[in-house]
Symmetry: C2
Subunit: 133 residues, 2 copies
DNA sequence: AGTATTATTGCAAACAGATTGCAATAAGTC
DNA sequence: GACTTATTGCAATCTGTTTGCAATAATACT
């Protein structure tokens, strides 16, 4: 949290209560704009939807959050402090679990097959989680 | 094309000139709604945007096309006759190349690490193509 | 080929998600 | 505590997508 605060201040921007709240909400899991908006408005305090959009856009530019797209679903925002990883998405309950994979196993394969210079990739799995089976 | 025609007719639906045109456009590469709409309207014949949406939705339901999402970019539609594959997306020119990978190499890895029952996955690569380097 | 049936198209309007302009507010500095 | 200015909230706007409905055209039948 303090690290994020520093990133914000270093850019001459302000660490407002709204930003703090959104950070708290994102601590739990990757969430859609709607989910974030709902979460920060459940209690007595109100936050405008426009503010949520603006803060998320700003966080994205500062590299504080990542935007992840699961197929044709809505985009989700996740804190980017946890390094590169992949996701397991439960198609029943919507649970999202992180997973780390040794990527060389397929990056090497790609290098053999094509002349593309790979910069990044996204790999997501869809299925049914332990609980929902 | 005749195969697609059969799928449509088997459902009691009609093989219209508009559907034919959209199929032709998709033959080239995966495209966004906007691109498809533009392509079918470049010539003298006009097609309403609503029609494009409706046909794409219908094709999606019939399994004639697939919807693919590349990160935070707009969704694209591609003909689904080519079986499961992955994509290489050039971040400079936007070229999209298909690639087949032996998937066991990472599916096995996932099975070892989690109790998720995997149903499907998406794997896309972003980088710079041969030409743009 | 001509006619009847009904899926499909085009248009206008509605809808939803995201963005912008601007005055009021509050974070950070002195 | 007062000042400066980034940020917020509100209203309005914009863009992408969907819906209702009458006109059109693809198919089946004679």
């Amino acid at each position: 949290m303090d690290k994020v605060k520093q990133i914000i201040k270093d850019k001459g921007q302000r660490f407002t209560s709204q930003k703090k709240e959104i950070l708290n909400v994102l601590q739990q899991k990757p969430q859609t704009v709607f989910e974030i908006y709902t979460a920060v408005n459940s209690k007595k305090n109100h936050m405008n939807k426009v503010t949520v959009y603006r803060i998320l856009t700003s966080f994205l530019e500062l590299g504080i959050v990542n935007k992840v797209q699961f197929n044709d679903k809505e985009a989700r925002f996740e804190l980017s402090n946890s390094g590169h990883h992949h996701h397991l998405v439960c198609e029943v309950c919507g649970l999202i679990e992180d997973i780390q994979l040794p990527e060389n196993i397929f990056l090497k394969e790609v290098k053999n097959k094509t002349d593309f210079k790979i910069k990044s990739h996204s790999l997501e799995f869809f299925g049914i989680c332990d609980r929902c089976q």
